[in-house]
């Protein structure tokens, strides 16, 4: 056991070498979702922006464990940081928000959500993202045709997208929503959407009976694409659109498939924006705007050309 104690001390001393406190402003970025690509881009860009401003950044990830994130927020609140950036639904980490605010530390949301305890939140506008793709579909069909929608009601940010798209389609007299499908998640939404789309194609066997597929995010759009390709109905000119611009979606669009458009959130822009907001807040500015929206961009084959 002497060995044990010795090893422990060595281990802790090694770890300690990393953690000297600096005089420069220290900002913690806290998220349970660091494994996700979008979060990674945001965190990397935030670190770059912070370095330019001369801050030190502490990134904390709790590997999808929300309760642990609350605990870590309480821990950092005791340290006297200059600011905390969270990338998680603020209503789920309220005890952590209280701990930070009680300690006088401002908390900023990064693609998080509006909350009274946040100074402000920087995000994309879900309504405008859905509007971008829905109007793309309306334009491509010249305002007439049958559209299949893939939606997901239980998750509010995605539910928003569906509601807007539906409003746009319903506002176009000659467009019919042939079906609005919630894909099964049992084997992933891609597989679920693919199975659902196969059924839709069987129900509408005539060429030209479906003109477009609008998906609230990219996975079901990719599933629908696979179903259409497997059914040999690529030449009917069915227009598919998704949202989020995942790697797979970009590939499908780049190769000129039926998947024609998606929307890319500007994660780098959001990270830069929140860094600027933190800077002005530390500089004494009073921020009253609840959500700062960073525009998202439509991505089509033309945007992906080398």
């Amino acid at each position: 056991m002497r060995k044990f104690s010795l090893l422990l001390v060595i281990l802790l001393l090694t770890v300690a070498g990393v953690g000297f406190a600096q005089d420069a402003p220290t900002v913690a970025v806290m998220t349970p979702f660091l494994a996700q690509p979008g979060t990674q881009i945001m965190v990397e860009n935030f670190e770059a922006a912070a370095m330019e401003k001369g801050w030190s950044v502490n990134v904390i990830d709790t590997n999808e464990d929300i309760a642990a994130l609350v605990s870590r927020m309480e821990d950092v609140a005791l340290q006297g940081l200059d600011a905390i950036i969270i990338n998680v639904d603020p209503t789920q980490v309220e005890p952590g928000l209280h701990a930070a605010v009680d300690a006088g530390i401002p908390v900023f949301g990064l693609d998080s959500g509006a909350h009274p305890l946040l100074v402000t939140n920087v995000t994309s506008n879900g309504y405008t993202m859905a509007a971008e793709t829905a109007t793309y579909v309306v334009d491509r069909l010249s305002g007439a045709g049958n559209v299949i929608m893939f939606i997901f009601e239980p998750y509010p940010p995605v539910q928003k997208r569906g509601a807007i798209a539906r409003a746009i389609f319903e506002n176009t007299p000659d467009i019919t929503i042939a079906d609005a499908i919630t894909p099964s998640f049992d084997n992933g939404p891609l597989e679920g959407a693919r199975n659902a789309m196969e059924a839709v194609l069987l129900a509408h066997p005539d060429a030209g009976s479906i003109q477009a597929v609008w998906a609230a995010w990219d996975d079901p759009a990719l599933g629908a694409l696979q179903a259409i390709e497997d059914a040999g109905r690529v030449d009917e000119g069915i227009v598919i659109v998704g949202i989020d611009a995942t790697e797979q979606a970009r590939d499908a669009i780049a190769r000129g498939s039926n998947f024609e458009a998606t929307v890319a959130q500007d994660f780098a822009g959001m990270a830069q924006k929140v860094a600027d907001l933190v800077e002005s807040h530390l500089g004494g500015a009073n921020i009253t705007q609840v959500n700062h929206y960073v525009p998202a961009n439509l991505v089509t084959q033309a945007d992906l050309g080398e």
Binding site: L7, V9, L12, V15, V76, L78, T91, Q92
Partner: protein, 353 residues
């Protein structure tokens, strides 16, 4: 196992080596605390921070304490994390249907008992190994939670304020210097669970019998101990513990997500293992489990305060668990593993010819 049996005379009453072997993990814990104290003198060794740590560890504590009872009998309950999640969804769904707090709590505890009964019947009466049985029920509970909730979190106004304020509340104890001292409600629940489990394991005949079952199940049966009933009971207690933890989690976060408790299971097992190193015969014991829980909690708290990268935190936590268990078994069993290792190494060069 044979190597551990010594027919030789009893060991001497006291030796420093023996003391360190038995209490090494405790010494390690104290070293960790002292270390963080020196590194973060202003914030670590403060009353608010320790109140903070106890509140953070209270939920893990409750499941780890009740898990200790199952592990005393030599079994595992892998389903506790999924049960804690499911209980959150059960309570949340009750709120969505305008159920009162009392109704939600009662239904949740009922779900915990039912899940424990299911595990216990599968293991004790049908004879499936605890590992397989509770792995199965883990999947069932997780599926149920996802099914009932439709995969979505339950949060917001449906949750009664009195329920969510409990998880954030505390009982004020007065002032120490300039700081208000208050004992969080969650911490109080964990202390109650600790006392209860401690009494069961150490002062009741049920506890003695549970240890006997873990020591030698066949001898326990031949010695007139009703092993099936007691194993069933241990799983029911663990299910109940998971339910209480699930409610605590729900109350603390004011959110019920269908997978939010899953991290608890592995941490609870790790805490019990750490605690076992504090027992002469490597038996699970709730005092040791408490130290195990505190080690995990203090490491997470202290390393965060030192702004250590979270991935490094995970690596060091895992390394410390392995270190503690390995070293206590190395010295505790007359270097049984060391001998085994040497024999293995000796064989290697000969394999070549």
């Amino acid at each position: 196992m044979k190597d551990r049996e010594s027919t030789g005379p009893a060991r001497a009453a006291f030796s420093p080596e023996r003391f360190l072997r038995r209490y090494g993990t405790l010494v390690g814990f104290i070293l960790i605390v002292v270390f963080f104290w020196t590194q973060r003198p202003g914030t670590f060794m403060t009353i608010p921070n320790w109140v903070n740590i106890t509140r953070q560890m209270s939920i893990l504590g409750v499941v780890a304490f009740t898990m200790t009872i199952v592990m005393v009998t030599g079994d595992f309950d892998l389903s506790i994390g999924a049960m804690a999640s499911l209980v959150g969804i059960v309570a949340g769904t009750t709120f969505q249907n305008d159920g009162a707090v009392g109704t939600a709590v009662a239904l949740s505890l009922l779900a915990g008992v039912a899940g424990g009964l299911l595990n216990g019947v599968l293991v004790a009466y049908i004879g499936i190994s605890a590992f397989v049985a509770t792995l199965g029920t883990l999947t069932v509970f997780r599926g149920l939670a996802l099914y009932i909730s439709g995969g979505a979190s339950i949060y917001g106004r449906v949750i009664p304020a009195e329920f969510s304020s409990f998880g954030r509340g505390a009982i004020p104890l007065g002032k120490i210097g300039a700081t208000d001292l208050a004992l969080p409600n969650l911490t109080i629940l964990a202390i109650l669970a600790l006392i209860l489990v401690f009494i069961i394991l150490n002062y009741t005949i049920v506890g003695r019998r549970l240890y006997a079952i873990g020591g030698n199940m066949e001898a326990a049966r031949f010695g007139g101990i009703r092993i099936n009933r007691l194993r069933l009971l241990s799983f029911v207690i663990s299910g109940l513990g998971a339910a209480v933890a699930g409610l605590m989690l729900f109350s603390r976060l004011s959110t019920a997500h269908p997978t939010q408790g899953e991290g608890l299971m592995l941490q609870a097992i790790a805490a019990v293992f750490l605690g076992m190193t504090l027992s002469e015969e490597s038996q699970p014991n709730v005092g040791g489990t408490l130290i195990g829980v505190l080690i995990l909690g203090v490491l997470a708290n202290g390393l965060t305060q030192m702004q250590i990268d979270t991935y490094i935190q995970q690596i060091s936590t895992g390394a410390i668990i392995i270190l503690a268990v390995t070293l206590s078994s190395l010295s505790g069993q007359q270097r049984h593993y060391g001998r085994w290792l040497r024999r293995l190494l000796r064989r290697l060069p000969r394999e070549g010819d």
